[in-house]
């Protein structure tokens, strides 16, 4: 939608500040006072030559009249309207709504933002319940122990002529199973308690690495310049990484980060990224680095605003996600498989072939962003060993590069099947818990 939200309000404020009467301004820019009045009350859209004339008369840049904090509100309200098309909200009158009812607009905007946050949180929790291997194994183990206890107790109670040897044996089994049951229940409670403390805490070395990197938005300031042994210092200072395997993973990542930071110095890289439109291939050529390294470097660029943060996802040859940088663009599954429609997986089927796509998450209609993906092979055991494939994709927010039609059709993707409500998806592998009103099982069997 055009960014003319509340331009009228700003024109009115500027005019009043300069002490110009509405009729005088209207006469200067050659429109009727009543038309200017409509513009100033956001009931008429304005742009082009008229806006330039008004800006010139008010001694202000056009951009100052067209951009402001309300733009984010308009975006939020547009997203809310797009998510519920059945309501038929008056999308063409959002500017007017924001202008006339700023308090209500701010409230609705805040609620929409909160709603998206909660949806992401719920998606993560549902994802965990559905796919967390520890939870699944623990519950299976507990149910097995309960079954053994119930079956054994039934025998003890219902068998009147049970001989002493069997009685003793079953008592011993009961004792052992009840002990194991208590242990299993206790460890499950500890696990869930820890989860409560850390919300979505860490359970594996790989997650320790991801948590370490996400807590820094993948940017590690201390490794941007040549300071000896700083990687070890950073590692030692981080008390959240507790496992040796986790420390090794982080250490390896930090060393590579430093190599890449020196090969692609931040200031020069940032300038080049803006100049080259964040195109990874052109950046790779400019800095003589490989594309996966450029992907990581792009993801490591610092940003104070979440809306300008570049996302990164890496998977291995089996499609398992091995590195995820969280952004506002695409909720990432923590466990289990991701959406099969991600360009990441398309890249995996065509090693070294670049993939570019304009994406839109099914849960966030209208929010489009650019994605680059590529996979490559490495041969850690030489020519005699197996090829190890890895694919990476970056997600470039529209705040950095606004996708255009030239980039191809918009591809609608999800996070994972369990939490995706897209009907008739050709790539669906399991029913969705959101599949109200359509028979996912039947769909799967097709």
């Amino acid at each position: 939608m055009p960014r003319s939200a509340l331009t009228g309000t700003r024109i009115r404020e500027r005019r009043t500040m300069l002490g110009i009467k509405q009729a005088d301004l209207a006469r200067t820019v050659e429109i009727s006072p009543s038309y200017l009045n409509l513009i100033e009350h956001n009931r008429r859209r304005i742009g082009g030559a008229l806006l330039s004339r008004i800006a010139r008369t008010l001694k202000v840049e056009v951009a100052n009249l067209t951009q402001g904090a309300e733009t984010e509100q308009v975006d939020q309200l547009s997203a809310a309207a797009a998510a519920h098309p059945e309501v038929n909200a008056e999308i063409d009158r959002i500017d007017e709504f924001v202008g006339r009812f700023p308090g209500w607009a701010a409230l609705m905007s805040a609620q929409q933002r909160r709603l998206v946050q909660l949806e992401h949180h719920v998606a993560s929790l549902v994802d965990r319940l559905a796919h967390d291997p520890f939870l699944s194994d623990s519950l299976h183990d507990i149910l097995s122990k309960v079954s053994a206890i119930q079956s054994t107790a039934s025998i003890l109670v219902e068998t009147d002529d049970l001989d002493e040897v069997w009685r003793h044996r079953f008592h011993r089994n009961l004792h052992a199973d009840s002990g194991k049951l208590a242990e299993g229940a206790s460890s499950l409670v500890d696990y869930l308690d820890a989860e409560g403390d850390a919300e979505l805490g860490m359970v594996s070395p790989q997650e320790e690495l991801e948590s370490f990197l996400n807590s820094r938005a993948f940017h590690i300031d201390g490794l941007e310049t040549e300071v000896p042994d700083l990687a070890e210092t950073i590692l030692e200072q981080d008390k959240a990484i507790t496992s040796l395997a986790g420390k090794d993973l982080v250490r390896t990542y930090l060393w590579r980060y430093r190599d890449e930071a020196l090969a692609m110095p931040l200031e020069a890289f940032t300038e080049a990224a803006e100049e080259l439109g964040y195109d990874p291939a052109r950046l790779a050529q400019r800095f003589e680095c490989d594309i996966p390294a450029v992907f990581r470097r792009l993801a490591s660029m610092p940003s104070d605003q979440g809306s300008r943060r570049i996302g990164l996802v890496v998977c291995d040859g089996a499609g398992a996600l091995i590195l995820r940088k969280a952004t506002e663009l695409l909720p990432l599954p923590r466990f289990g498989a991701a959406c099969a429609l991600w360009p990441l997986y398309r890249a995996l089927t065509r090693p070294m072939a670049p993939v570019r796509a304009v994406l839109e998450h099914a849960g966030r209609p209208g929010h489009r962003f650019l994605c680059y993906a590529m996979s490559h092979a490495s041969y850690p055991q030489g020519f005699g060993g197996p090829a190890v494939y890895e694919a990476s994709m970056i997600l470039v927010p529209p705040a950095l590069v606004e996708p255009t039609d030239a980039e191809g059709p918009v591809e609608v993707i999800g996070t994972s099947c369990r939490i995706c409500a897209v009907e008739n998806c050709a790539a669906r592998r399991e029913p969705s818990i959101l599949s109200d009103g359509f028979d996912s099982a039947a769909q799967l069997s097709q």
């Binding site: 149910l143 119930q150 039934s154 025998i155």
Partner: protein, 123 residues
């Protein structure tokens, strides 16, 4: 004549309890705990009925059932599936693969006995 049941289950105390009450009911009971070799064990001892746990080491009970149903000799062999997961999708999958019955843990001994009796036509 007693019926022969093969119990494929990796939880030893469940196995012992089931073996005990089936034996007392007059069944001949054989036990096996590994998924990878379960099919060859079925072919070796040719039981009248199989009690098959879904979660087995090395190979799932679903895969074992699928292979049994694909072979002419075991296509019609009665198989009672046991699982700790009582989810609908597990039951549906067992039915799709051709299980003769399905029970979720925890189960009652009497129900297992009754189910097995009906599966071999033994009232």
């Amino acid at each position: 004549m007693s019926h022969h049941v093969l119990l494929i289950e990796d939880e030893p105390n469940i196995m012992e309890a089931i073996r005990f009450f089936l034996s007392r009911d007059g069944w001949k009971v054989s036990c096996h705990s590994d998924g990878a070799t379960a099919v060859s064990e079925v072919n070796r001892i040719t039981p009248d009925v199989v009690v098959l746990d879904v979660m087995l080491p090395n190979r799932s009970g679903f895969d074992v059932l699928k292979e049994l149903r694909a072979a002419p000799d075991t296509r019609d062999l009665p198989v009672l599936m046991l699982t700790a997961k009582g989810q609908t999708k597990d039951r549906e999958r067992a039915e799709q693969l051709g299980s003769s019955g399905f029970m979720t843990k925890p189960f009652s001994n009497a129900e297992v006995l009754e189910k097995l009796r009906s599966m071999v036509g033994h009232a």
